[in-house]
Amino acid sequence: MLSAYLIHIAIIIVIYAILAVSLNVAVGYTGLLNLGHIAFFGIGAYASAILTKNDVPYTLALCASGIMASLFGWLLAKITAKLKGDYLALATLGFGFVVYAVMLNWTKLTRGPLGIPGIQKPNIFGWQITGAGSYLIFASVIALFIVLIIYRIVHSRYGKLLEAVRDDAIGAQALGKNIYHLKVQSMMISAFFAGIAGSLYAHYISYIDPSTFFLSDIIIIFTIVIVGGLASLRGSIIAAIIIIALPELLRFIDIPSSMIGPMRQMIYAVILILILMFRPRGIFGRIDLD
């Protein structure tokens, strides 16, 4: 019983680690303050669920979830191309709202608030994943792969360009770098992997509805990124473990279950404030922003 519970937590950690690492590409490395990341998560989840419901093979649906989210990343980046800082943050927040509203209201496609139940367990070229244990292994392998790719990206010359855009976009332009391309690509990469995380989530929980992808949950992902440190992949992974596991301790304290939700939100808020006050760069952060 306890081990099943631990496996569950571990799977959630893996999914949030992917979300945080991918968000860090946009926010930490490229300086795009994207508050709509959770929309990509939702788009991936819905894409994968709807496709497999329509008999598309799981592996295809998994790829499609990333591609679909990435297309929306392209769209968001194009729309917000000339915005910076607070304005960009607001616009991306608006994007998150719109996607949420579509999930809720396009009932023909998403069944609205009823959600989509009975999402199948993954079948990868004949390997049927049923138990939580094998799902954990599967999700971890995917996550490992994603982290590896992102690691290669951010440590390459290309990754340094993303950081240049964050530190001084005008300076980067003066060196002949097309900063619009870089911003769009960064957003697409970031969205792609959030979409994959969405698919992993949908096929694990097997039921999705719009409430999972409401904007308030962006706070968790942001807390992970900030606590771990901007532009630190290791930080995002370790912070995902801490931030997801810590509130679970509440279960072992004798408090009414109705209090757990609000308490959890409070813990995130307190952690965020403490970090910003005493260690603004996060645990592993190495960069300074203006």
């Binding site: 990206i153 390459s156 005008i170 300076g171 332009q173 060196l175 770098k177 391309h181 990469i189």
Partner: protein, 245 residues
């Protein structure tokens, strides 16, 4: 090489440039002088595509570049520095020098699979650049750890390392100590020998005298005088603009 035709630019109510015309000749050092607020930096920004003029055209090697994006103009061979140094503060000197070398870094897919380590040859080239410019730091040093003078030197080094035909320097010696100032001046003299085409903004009359082949004096957004250094620098209108009030 570069032709400025009837450029006008206002910011809100301020007319920063009021219809300027001039030509920058190939293989010459042209100095743009004028008191604070004359519109020198604004002209730089217009040439490099960072500011759109209200009227007028900029021709570069006969091509109209007025409406082109800054990165396109940079890639056409106009290399510039900024009055307020623009470097990437969380990156290292090596990262910076690698960026100006070519645009191979723009290709995402190639970069994912490319080996990370900078080839030793490049490492040596970069170290040579640091030595040439008298920047006594390693390639791994972060920009945050550089002095103001070193940042200024690095920015000039980058503008020079970047493949270019025209070099535009906005007050390269302003704010640095005498030692670095002399260093930069010697460097510019060497570039002069090599027949580089340079457009230079500076307030130091003596320096302009020693370096420039041609001087353009700007005041309140208008070219008040241009010609050989000793003529322009003696011109009563120029003296008044600089020393008047």
């Amino acid at each position: 090489m570069l032709e400025i035709q009837g450029i006008k630019k206002s910011f809100g109510g301020v007319e920063a440039i009021k219809g300027s015309n001039f030509i920058i000749e190939k293989n010459k050092i042209t100095a743009l002088i004028g008191p604070n607020g004359a519109g020198k930096t604004t002209l730089f920004d217009i040439i490099a595509g960072f500011t759109r003029p209200d009227e007028g055209r900029v021709l570069y090697e006969g091509e109209d570049i007025t409406d082109k994006e800054p990165h396109i103009i940079a890639n056409l061979g106009i290399s510039r520095t900024f009055q307020q140094v623009r470097l990437f503060k969380n990156l290292t000197i090596g990262d910076h020098l690698s960026m100006v070398e070519n645009n191979g870094d723009m290709n995402l897919i190639k970069n994912i699979f490319r080996k990370k380590k900078v080839k030793r040859v490049k490492q040596e080239t970069y170290e040579q650049v640091l030595e040439d410019f008298g920047i006594k730091q390693t390639l791994e040093t972060h920009i945050n750890d550089l002095s103001f003078g070193q940042r200024k030197l690095l920015q000039i080094a980058m503008a020079l390392q970047k493949p270019h035909k025209l070099l535009m320097l906005d007050e390269p010696v302003a704010g640095v100590n005498k030692v670095i100032q002399t260093e930069i001046e010697n460097l510019l003299l060497k570039l002069k020998e090599k027949n580089e085409t340079i457009l230079l903004i500076d307030h130091d009359i003596e320096l302009v005298h020693r370096l420039a082949d041609h001087v353009i004096a700007l005041d309140a957004g208008i070219v008040i005088c241009e010609g050989a250094p000793n003529e322009v620098l003696k011109n009563p209108k120029v003296l008044e603009a600089y020393l008047g009030e």
